[in-house]
Amino acid sequence: MSKPPDLVQGTLDLLLLKILALEPLHGWAISQRLKQVSGDELQVSDGSLYPALHKLELGGWITAEWKTSELGRRAKFYSLTRAGRRYLEQETAHWHRLTSAISRVLALKET
C-alpha cells in the first residue's frame, strides 16, 4: 500500500480550525476527532498535531485554557478566536474555489 499523500501545506491548520469551530477540545480529543472524521485517508501523526496547535495559538487564531476534562484531569482546551473564525471562513471559501477549479480541470474529457 502506498503511503497516503502528505497533507497539502496549510491544510492541517484548516482542519484543526474547522474541528475547533464546532466546540472547544483538548489535544487528544482533536486527534481522535480527526481520525474519526477523515478515516484513514488523512493520516495526521499526533507528533505534528501539537506543534501545529501551538503555532495557531501563537498566531492568535485559537486560544487555550486549562480546564478539567471529562476524566477529572486538567487538560488544555483549545477554542477558536474571532479572528480564527473569520480566517476559517476565508480559507474555506478559498478551498472551495480551489478544489472546484481543480475538479473542473480534471473533468475535461479527452477527445
Partner: protein, 881 residues
C-alpha cells in the same frame, strides 16, 4: 489585524514565562499520552505496551516538545541567553583572566570613545545650517598667504557679477562699546555683516527678525541682532528686548531680533554678542584699498565648488583689468566651509586613526588572553566536542564569551570616557571659543561599536584555532604536561610581533606629530614673548578726550607715559594691534614710488617704544622717535622680508611708500626691523612671514588702542595697576583683553597642543597595553615550559642559560616586531607628510630614541618573566610533574 491582539498573551507568555511554557508542554503531552494509553489499553494491550504505543504514536515525547519549542518566538535569543549565562559562569570561575580582559577593554574602548567625543564636533558634526555643504569661503590669495580678506568695492563687484552664488555675504569683526546710562561701559564682540548674511546661513531668529539688505543701507535706521548668550547675560532673556534701543558707540541702535543658541557655535567667528549691518557709505563702497572683509557664499543648487572657483577667478581677472593699481600677484580661492582649518581637521583625523591602534593593541592582548584561556579549556572543549557539541556551537560559545567580556568592559568604559571627555573639555577647551563638546548618542554608538568589534576580533580567532585542534590529541594529553600545539604557538608569536609593531607605529606617529608641532611653534617669533602684558581699549568716536585727532594723540601719549610709570614696567607702548601672536590687525595695499603694482603689507601703527617693548631688533636705519609727529616728514619702518622683496640688493632707507591713488602722501622708509613670524600650519609654508610696515601712531591715529607693557614683575600685579591708570584718565573707558603675550601665544596653539597631549597620552597607553600584553604572553608560555626549564636546571643548566633560553626568543620577536613597525612607521610618515606637507620631520636622534625606547620596553616585558622562570626551584617543578 485583530488576531495579533489574541496572539499577544500567548507570545508574551512564550517570551517571559519560559518555565510556565515548559510545564504546560509537559502537562499537555503527558495528558495526551495518558489518554492514548487508556484508549490503547481498552483495545486489549497490556499496560506497558499501551504506554509504549502511545509514546510512539506521538513521535516521541521529547522530540515533539522540541518541535513545539521551535514554533516559539525568539529561539535564537533563548539560545544566546543560555550562552551568555554559561559564559558569565565561566568568567566568574577565572577572575584573574576576567579582570585582565575587562581592564583591557575598558582602556581600549575608553580611549577611543574619549577621543571620538573630543574630535566629534571638529571632524564629523555637520555645521548647524541647512545644506551646509553649499556654503563656501571666498579667499583672496597672494604670494604671502592664501586667506587674505577683501575690500568693500571688490566685494560689491563679486556680488554683482557672479552667477554662481545664491548669496555672497561679507563680514568683519569689530569691537563696540555698550554704554547704557548709569551702567559701566562694556565691550561687545560685534560682527558687522552685509544684509544678506542671515539669508545666506538660512537660520531663523529665535525672537523678532533678522536684518536684510534693506537695513544695510547708508542712512537706514541702525539695527542690531543679539546673540543668545548676550541676550541671556545682559537682558535676562527678556523677549520684550525686540524694538528696544540700546546705546552702542554713543548712539542708539534698535534691537530687531535674537539668534538661537546654536548660531554662535561655529568656531570661525568665535563668540559674538551682536550682529550689525555695515550700512557702508558711498565712499566706503568705492574703497579698494582697505582689505578687511571675509566673504562667505552659498552656492546655487547644482553648482560645484570647482565651477564657482573658476567663475570667481574670471571675475577677479576682470576687476584686475579694470583697476590697474591693484596687486596683480594675487588671486581668488574658494574653499569649503569647515569648523576648523583643513590642516587641523586632517591632523585630527590622523590622531583619530592613531588611537585605533590602541584599540587594535587591546584586541591583540585580548586575543592572547583568550587564547591562553582556550588552551586551558582545551579539554573541556574537546570533551564537549566528543559528546557531540558541534564546532559551530563551540565557536559561538567562545564568541559569546568574548562579547560578554567586551560588553562588560564597554559598560565600564563609557561612563569613564564621559568623565575624561568632561575633563578635557573643561581643562583644555575652556579658552577655545565656540567649541562645545557634548556627550551624544553618536559617542555611545561609537563606543558600543568599538566594544562589539573588539569582542568579535578577539573572540573569533582563538576560538577558530581551538576548534581546529584534534580532539583525540587533546584528550590523550595529560592536562599539566600539555604544551600548546604548533598552530597556537605560531599565532601567539604573531601576536607579540603585531603588538610590538602596532605600538611602534603608534609611537612613531605620535612622536612625528608632536615633535613636528613643537618645531613649528618653537620657530623664533622675532620678538621676545616673555614678560609682555597686553590690554585693549576701545575709544568711542566721541568723548571728552577723543574728539579731535590731536586730542586722541595727546590721550595716547598720556596713557603711554602713565603706564610706563607703573613700578616694574620697563617699556610701554601704544599700538593699533595687540601682541603679534597670530597676525596684525590690518593690512593695506601700499603704493611704492617708482612702481606701478601695489604691495600688500600688514599695517601697524605704534608709538616709538613699540620695538623696544617687544624687543624687535633694528637691522638698518633708525626707529621712530618722539619727533616723528604731524607736520614732520611722514616716516615708515618696514621689515626685512618686505625690504628684500621690493628693493633687492638696494638700500631701502630713503625710499618712499605711500597710499595708492592720486594722493599718495609718500612716507620715507627710515628703518628696517627684523621679521616677526607667526607659526603657520597652512599649505604654503611652515612660517608665515608677511610684509610688515610700521608707522608712528602720532602721524596716523587709530581707533583700536592696545597697550603693550614689558615688565620684570608679576603680570597680574601690573594688570591691576594698569586698570587704575586707565580709570584715572577716563572712568568710562573699559580695559579688556588683559593677557600676557605668552598666554596669547598659547591660546593660538591651544587646540594643537591639546591634540599633542591627547596623542602623547594615548601612545603611552598603547605602549603600556603592548608591554602588558607581551608580559602576559611570555609569562604564560614560560609557565607552560616550566617543567622543561626545571628539568634543564635539574640537569645542571645555570640560571643565565635558562634566562637566555627564554630571552632568545624575545629578542628575535622584538627584532621582527620593530622591523615591521619601522616599515609601518615609514608608511605613516609618508601619510603624515602628505596631510601636512610643511610639518618638519622629527630629528634623527628623536627617531632613533623612539626605536630604542620601544626595544627597551619590549625587552623589559620579556625579561621579567624570563628572570622569574630562571629563579624557579627545579625541585618544585619536577615534584609537580
Amino acid at each position: 489585524m485583530g488576531r495579533w491582539i489574541y496572539a499577544i498573551p500567548a507570545r508574551l507568555k512564550a517570551i517571559l514565562l519560559r518555565q510556565r511554557i515548559e510545564r504546560d508542554l509537559d502537562d499537555e503531552l503527558a495528558f495526551h499520552v495518558a489518554m492514548q494509553t487508556r484508549a490503547n489499553a481498552r483495545e486489549g494491550m497490556s499496560d506497558a505496551e499501551a504506554y509504549r504505543r502511545a509514546r510512539i504514536e506521538i513521535d516521541g515525547v521529547e522530540q515533539t516538545k522540541e518541535r513545539s519549542r521551535d514554533v516559539l518566538p525568539l529561539r535564537w535569543a533563548r539560545d544566546a541567553m543560555q550562552d551568555v549565562r554559561y559564559g558569565l559562569r565561566g568568567l566568574r570561575k577565572s577572575p584573574r583572566f576576567t579582570i585582565a580582559a575587562v581592564l583591557t577593554v575598558v582602556l581600549g574602548v575608553g580611549a577611543n570613545a574619549t577621543i571620538f567625543s573630543v574630535l566629534n564636533p571638529l571632524l564629523f558634526k555637520p555645521l548647524p545650517y541647512p545644506e551646509p555643504e553649499r556654503i563656501v569661503n571666498v579667499f583672496r590669495t597672494s604670494p604671502q598667504s592664501d586667506r587674505w580678506p577683501h575690500s568693500m568695492a571688490n566685494y560689491l563687484d563679486h556680488r554683482a557679477r557672479n552667477t554662481v552664488f545664491e548669496h555672497l555675504a561679507a563680514i568683519n569683526w569689530e569691537d563696540t562699546s555698550l554704554a547704557e546710562p548709569g551702567q559701566p561701559a562694556e565691550r561687545l564682540f560685534t560682527l558687522r555683516t552685509t544684509g544678506n548674511f542671515f539669508a545666506l546661513f538660512g537660520v531663523a531668529p529665535l525672537v523678532g527678525r533678522t536684518y536684510t539688505d534693506a537695513d544695510d543701507q547708508a542712512g537706514a535706521a541702525e539695527v542690531a541682532v543679539l546673540s543668545y548668550g548676550f541676550w541671556q547675560r545682559h537682558f535676562n532673556g527678556d523677549p520684550a528686548i525686540v524694538g528696544r534701543p540700546i546705546r552702542i558707540n554713543a548712539g542708539y541702535t534698535t534691537v530687531v531680533g535674537v539668534m538661537p543658541r546654536d548660531f554662535e557655535y561655529p568656531l570661525f567667528w568665535g563668540n559674538i554678542d551682536i550682529w550689525r549691518p555695515f550700512a557702508a557709505s558711498a565712499q566706503q563702497r568705492q574703497d579698494r584699498g582697505n582689505n578687511f572683509l571675509r566673504e562667505f557664499a552659498r552656492l546655487k543648487p547644482g553648482v560645484t565648488l570647482e565651477q564657482a572657483d573658476a567663475a570667481m577667478k574670471a571675475i577677479d581677472m576682470q576687476i584686475l583689468a579694470e583697476n590697474t593699481n591693484l596687486d596683480r600677484r594675487g588671486g581668488i580661492r574658494l574653499a569649503e566651509l569647515s569648523l576648523v582649518n583643513p590642516v587641523m581637521r586632517r591632523m585630527s583625523a590622523f590622531a583619530f586613526g592613531l588611537t585605533f591602534l590602541v584599540l587594535l593593541i587591546a584586541c591583540v592582548n585580548l586575543a592572547n588572553l583568550q587564547l591562553a584561556r582556550t588552551a586551558a579549556r582545551a579539554r573541556e572543549f574537546a570533551i564537549r566536542g566528543a559528546i557531540g557539541g558541534g564546532k559551530g556551537r563551540l565557536l559561538r560559545q567562545s564568541l559569546t564569551d568574548s562579547l560578554v567580556l567586551s560588553m562588560v568592559g564597554g559598560a565600564i568604559a563609557i561612563p569613564l570616557s564621559f568623565w575624561c571627555t568632561r575633563l578635557i573639555a573643561t581643562r583644555q577647551f575652556a579658552d577655545l571659543q565656540g567649541v562645545r563638546i557634548t556627550i551624544e548618542p553618536a559617542t555611545l554608538a561609537f563606543a558600543f561599536g568599538c566594544a562589539v568589534i573588539t569582542g568579535v576580533i578577539f573572540g573569533a580567532v582563538p576560538a577558530w584555532l581551538a576548534s581546529r585542534a584534534d580532539i583525540n590529541d587533546v584528550l590523550k594529553q595529560h592536562p599539566q604536561s600539555m604544551t600548546a600545539g604548533r598552530g597556537p604557538q605560531r599565532f601567539r608569536q604573531g601576536l607579540i610581533v603585531a603588538e610590538i609593531a602596532f605600538a611602534l607605529i603608534m609611537l612613531a606617529g605620535a612622536v612625528s606629530l608632536v615633535r613636528g608641532l613643537q618645531r613649528i611653534t618653537a620657530v623664533d617669533p622675532g620678538w621676545r614673548v616673555d614678560g609682555v602684558l597686553a590690554a585693549r581699549l576701545n575709544l568711542p568716536p566721541v568723548g571728552p578726550n577723543y574728539t579731535t585727532p590731536e586730542a586722541r594723540r595727546v590721550f595716547f601719549q598720556t596713557l603711554r607715559d602713565r603706564a610706563a610709570e607703573i613700578p616694574g614696567v620697563t617699556h610701554a607702548a601704544v599700538s593699533s594691534s595687540s601682541v603679534p601672536t597670530a597676525t596684525f590687525g590690518t593690512s593695506t595695499a601700499f603704493a611704492v614710488e617708482g612702481r606701478t603694482d601695489p604691495v600688500l603689507a600688514y599695517n601697524e601703527r605704534a608709538t616709538p617704544e613699540y620695538f623696544e617693548t617687544l624687543q624687535v631688533p633694528l637691522r638698518r636705519g633708525r626707529l621712530f622717535t618722539a619727533d616723528d609727529r604731524v607736520g614732520r616728514t611722514p616716516v615708515i619702518v618696514i621689515n626685512e622680508a618686505m625690504a628684500r622683496a621690493i628693493w633687492p640688493g638696494e638700500d631701502p632707507i630713503g625710499k618712499r611708500i605711500g597710499n595708492r591713488g592720486p594722493n599718495p602722501n609718500w612716507r620715507e622708509v627710515v628703518g628696517v626691523v627684523g621679521d616677526i613670524t607667526f607659526p603657520s600650519f597652512g599649505a604654503s609654508s611652515s612660517v608665515d612671514t608677511a610684509f610688515q610696515a610700521f608707522m608712528p601712531l602720532a602721524q596716523t591715529g587709530t581707533q583700536f588702542v592696545n597697550i603693550l607693557l614689558r615688565t620684570n614683575r608679576e603680570p597680574d600685579a601690573i594688570a591691576a595697576e594698569l586698570r587704575r591708570v586707565v580709570s584715572a584718565l577716563d572712568p568710562d573707558l573699559p580695559v579688556y583683553g588683559l593677557v600676557t603675550a605668552r598666554a596669547a601665544e598659547e591660546r593660538q596653539t591651544a587646540s594643537l597642543r591639546l591634540l599633542g597631549n591627547v596623542l602623547a597620552g594615548f601612545s603611552g597607553l598603547g605602549l603600556l597595553l603592548a608591554a602588558l600584553g607581551i608580559f602576559g604572553v611570555v609569562s604564560y608560555s614560560t609557565a607552560q615550559r616550566a617543567s622543561e626549564l626545571g628539568m634543564r636546571m635539574a640537569l645542571g643548566a645555570r640560571q643565565s642559560v635558562v634566562l637566555w633560553l627564554v630571552l632568545k626568543q624575545g629578542v628575535g620577536l622584538t627584532m621582527v616586531g620593530v622591523a615591521v613597525g619601522m616599515a609601518g612607521g615609514l608608511a605613516l610618515g609618508r601619510v603624515l607628510s602628505s596631510l601636512m606637507p610643511n610639518l618638519p620631520a622629527p630629528e634623527l636622534s628623536v627617531v632613533i630614541g623612539t626605536f630604542a625606547f620601544m626595544v627597551f620596553v619590549a625587552l623589559a616585558a620579556f625579561s621579567i618573566p624570563a628572570w622569574r622562570a630562571s629563579k624557579t626551584n627545579p625541585m618544585l617543578v619536577l615534584r609537580h610533574e
